[in-house]
């Protein structure tokens, strides 16, 4: 597939952008008066926004800040203000997220890379057979590690981790909620990566991986929503809050996962289905940064991301089981993904010689 990009086309979009800013400029108003006096906008870290455009965005943020929630959960929460005015260098993404991401990718790459000839790996039906046999060797190990980590993590989290000062034992659902949410996001990124590879180079195994990831991702997102809702019911006194950007964006993520599955099952031809699904997956990738940033950008009911490796932010005795659980979920996901991939390979290759030999042999 060739995508031709026309220069005129970009000029057109640039023109639209200019027109838009011209249209909107007179509608913005100065900062004073727009923001209630009890809030010191500077203290909450809005000073980075500039000019009349910044004012508009600030008012929008303030709207989300102030509107639907009582003040103790949101605005003048001292801890939150301190979090937001931290110097830029210290406000980093959780290293854990990237560590987990890296491990996951390395694992997949290790399983499926044919280091000797990458070009030979492409468009070879033999590679599917290779993958089928290789994954058979991987699955027991991945499953064993997942079960072991789950056991250690659950015992550590439910028994040995200290009781939270405010939430008492209710916080322990974090050991399911956070891993499920984290992996559901990572799986989407992985799926989009595989979709892009499948779309561009027509590598069959990438298409199969993308198709196998969608139901898993949907399940994990559902787990994240359900556990989050139970947790919220216990500690925020509300099971569901329509105004919270994090809940909304995760719900949309679930819908997107489901729509990807729907499209994939609606098209008969597997290759066409894979390409069509890939385009949808890549189009909806926009949601991922929104899900990740929604808690840091909009300051609402859902707390901002806790820095797991920061001792002031989280007790190490709580962080340890959490990290273990994230890895447990990752290994579980990898194992399940490979099982689905194996089933998919057998299905798509059912008319080939090696599958019938396999069937006769077993």
């Amino acid at each position: 597939m060739k995508i031709r990009i026309n220069f005129n086309y970009f000029l057109l979009s640039l023109g639209c952008l200019l027109l838009l800013s011209l249209l909107l400029a007179p509608h913005t108003q100065p900062l004073q008066g727009a923001i209630p006096p009890e809030t010191n906008a500077k203290a909450i870290g809005y000073q980075t926004e500039f000019g009349p455009i910044g004012t508009g965005i600030t008012v929008f943020k303030r709207r989300v800040l102030n509107s639907r929630f009582s003040s103790d959960t949101t605005l003048l929460n001292k801890e939150k203000v301190e979090q937001m005015i931290q110097p830029k260098g210290t406000r980093r993404f959780d290293r854990n997220f990237w560590l987990a991401e890296l491990l996951f990718i390395v694992l997949i790459a290790y399983g499926f890379g044919r280091y000797d000839s990458i070009t030979g790996f492409i468009k070879k039906t033999g590679s599917l057979k290779y993958t089928y046999h290789l994954s058979a060797r991987f699955i027991p190990w991945l499953t064993a590690i997942a079960v072991l980590l789950l056991l250690i993590g659950l015992v550590d989290g439910l028994v040995f981790a200290p009781i939270d000062a405010k939430q008492k034992d209710a916080y322990r659902i974090i050991f399911i909620h956070v891993p499920a949410s984290s992996i559901s996001l990572q799986l989407y990124v992985f799926m989009a990566l595989m979709a892009a590879i499948g779309l561009i180079w027509h590598i069959k195994i990438a298409e199969i991986l993308a198709a196998a990831a969608a139901p898993l991702g949907a399940a994990l997102t559902a787990i994240s929503l359900i556990t989050g809702s139970i947790w919220g019911g216990g500690t925020w006194n509300t099971f569901w809050e329509w105004g919270d950007p994090r809940m909304m964006s995760v719900l949309i993520l679930l819908f997107i996962y489901l729509s990807i599955m729907g499209l994939n099952s609606a098209i008969e031809d597997r290759r066409t289905a894979a390409s069509a699904t890939a385009i949808l997956t890549l189009s909806a990738l926009v949601i991922i940064p929104f899900v990740i940033l929604s808690v840091n950008y909009f300051n609402t009911l859902h707390q901002a991301q806790t820095q797991i490796f920061n001792k002031n932010s989280m007790d190490p005795r709580m962080a340890r089981p959490l990290v273990i659980m994230i890895f447990a979920f990752m290994f579980y996901t990898a194992a399940t993904l490979l099982m689905r991939v194996r089933a998919e390979i057998i299905h798509s290759e059912r008319n080939t010689q090696w599958v019938s030999e396999e069937a006769a042999g077993s």
Partner: protein, 226 residues
């Protein structure tokens, strides 16, 4: 006789507008649908002016969303059935530009009438007078994004026999940010505070859709017609 992409663009827009003019039902039906949905709310929720004023922004935008969804099918369906779509894909001009022409024509025939008629409906829903500029602006900025994003969905499902419901499932999650931003803008305007923030974000989304959606639609059309 090699002609530029701009010529092809305007020719395609003119052709689609002429077609829409000949089959006026294509313009009128989504509009009628829009009006009917809006009128269902006062009948079902409440006819109290105060209640209507608070829900007006959401009602109008939900109706706009649904009527856009209904009208999307006409964007590629008839072209797919009579083979015009294959001709479009085979033309030497960039498919994305031609797709943009189709989307433009679709917006002029379905999006623009909504913008024209929406103030009237807003008036009947007792929307605050201060919110009208925001309503018009959000519709002007937002409806092109509806057409552009919808084009991806319809391009993916055009080859399917039972694509209608699937289209709604594919597209509605992608429409949610547009809905949230525009109705927030209108509500802010009704409360007489600056509403440029959500509108600017809406504009950013629209421009993003304008730059990337035609490329995705072109790729999706190639897959659907494979």
């Amino acid at each position: 006789m090699k002609k530029s992409a701009a010529t092809a663009f305007s020719a395609l827009v003119r052709r689609d507008l002429l077609l829409a003019y000949r089959y006026r039902a294509e313009i009128v039906n989504p509009l009628l649908y829009f009006v009917i949905i809006v009128s269902l709310y006062p009948l079902s929720v409440s006819s109290e002016p105060k209640v209507l004023a608070t829900i007006a922004s959401g009602v109008i935008w939900v109706a706009a969303l649904l009527s856009a969804l209904l009208s999307l099918d006409s964007m590629f369906r008839s072209d797919y059935e009579d083979g015009t779509l294959e001709q479009i894909l085979m033309s030497p001009h960039p498919t994305a530009v031609l797709v943009l022409a189709k989307v433009t024509a679709h917006w002029i025939t379905t999006g623009l009438p909504l913008v024209v008629i929406a103030p009237l409906l807003a008036l009947s829903l007792h929307l605050d007078a201060a919110a009208f500029p925001a309503l018009l602006l959000s519709l002007l900025i937002g409806t092109p994004a509806l057409s552009l994003l919808g084009a991806i969905g319809i391009a993916l499902t055009v080859g399917l026999r039972r694509g209608g419901l699937l289209l709604a499932i594919l597209i509605l999650p992608l429409y949610v940010p547009i809905l949230v931003l525009s109705s927030t803008a209108i509500q802010l305007a009704a409360e007489k505070v600056p509403y440029s923030g959500p509108l600017l974000m809406l504009g950013a989304l629209s421009v993003l859709a304008l730059t990337l959606a035609p490329l995705a639609t072109a790729a999706a059309l190639r897959i659907s017609l494979r």
